[in-house]
Symmetry: C2
Subunit: 220 residues, 2 copies
């Protein structure tokens, strides 16, 4: 029984890594579609979301099976319940990438507004937060998880900057309003992605330490 449980845990780790890499790719491709104004790339992100949705259900069922069959305790129990939450966050990150792809399809119907600098930077930051939060889980790396939590502010600040800049465009030329608002919403989607990555990192710390750092109740 012991051996089998360990094998299933390894499988769960593998599935989470797979889910993580699909989700990272969704973020990357959605922003590439936006920057290069490519409708077909945006369509790819939307199409591939189905695979991510199916994988979420598979992982969730694997977790439930592990809980029901092996009745794990202590750190194993925390790992599996954390995996369920992390899986859910990953799926929602993919939904945000789909939102970006859908906005992209609207944005590129309209004339070019401005070269995008900060939005792709935010996207790289957010994507790395997702990657590192999953790496922190799989490699039981608490320091890396804490680092992810800290980076959330950077994304928030960039988003604020994007927001202010686009307001200026709108005020100077009302013809840019529709496009600028769409870009503001893309910034919001990226901010949400960073929030989800932060949730994942918090769950990783909880799993490793057995205590929550959510809502900053930890003294440190």
């Amino acid at each position: 029984m012991e051996r089998h449980f360990d094998e299933e845990l390894t499988e769960l780790n593998k599935q989470l890594l797979r889910m993580g890499s699909f989700v990272e790719e969704a973020i990357q491709v959605s922003i590439k579609a936006l920057v290069e104004r490519k409708d077909d790339l945006a369509g790819e992100v939307i199409k591939r979301d189905e695979t991510i949705n199916m994988l979420e259900i598979e992982i969730d069922e694997l977790c439930l099976r592990l809980l029901a069959l092996y009745q794990p305790k202590a750190i194993d129990l925390r790992f599996i319940t954390s995996a369920m939450k992390i899986n859910n966050d990953l799926e929602r990150i993919a939904d945000q990438a789909v939102n970006i792809a859908e906005r992209t399809q609207e944005i590129i119907k309209q004339p070019f507004l401005k070269p995008l600098i900060d939005i792709p930077r935010m996207a790289v930051l957010a994507q790395n937060m997702v990657k590192d939060s999953i790496d922190a889980l799989v490699n039981k790396n608490e320091a890396l998880a804490r680092d992810v939590c800290k980076r959330d502010d950077e994304v928030d600040n960039l988003n604020e900057q994007v927001f202010r800049e686009l307001l200026t465009y709108m005020m100077q030329d009302p013809k840019t309003i529709t496009r600028a608002v769409e870009l503001i919403l893309v910034g919001r989607h990226l901010e949400r992605i960073a929030d989800h990555a932060t949730n994942i990192a918090e769950d990783v710390i909880y799993f490793l330490k057995g205590k929550t750092i959510k809502h900053h109740i930890e003294n440190q």
Copy 2:
């Protein structure tokens, strides 16, 4: 042992209902603050969020204790893992209410833009979705949970309408841009609340039926 487990389950139900009512109140008060332009009400929502955050942690720990101590199976296992997810969604709904309260504090520093009609309507719809999704859980009412899922489109449509109307304001008078964008974001927060309520309702259906209706893989 059996009797004790049932008592703990009753306690979990009670705590979820309590969490639900706090969260509903947060939505209601944040919109009241916006409509009546009251900074102190907005401040209340932000202050009370701390209680909701603490309650989330308490419920999470209760669920983990139930899993570790009683090793529940089948419907009990599904109830507890669903409760963990639902608890998490409720906390995020409260975060959206805090976002609305924070935007409200910015909006009311600026001159009055327009009487708000659709935003309070969206808020009532979203709040009822939250209420009914929790009622569906506690009363094991699958029909009610399915009804909540259906209502998500109504909120999305109202949000689209709010968005289009505010775009018109901005185009006619660029001085309204900052305020109008803030209101567009309030609409987005309400839309997110309805999305979380839909997630809760989907989890309730999963708990009751033992199968997922997420991502519409169910044939119906």
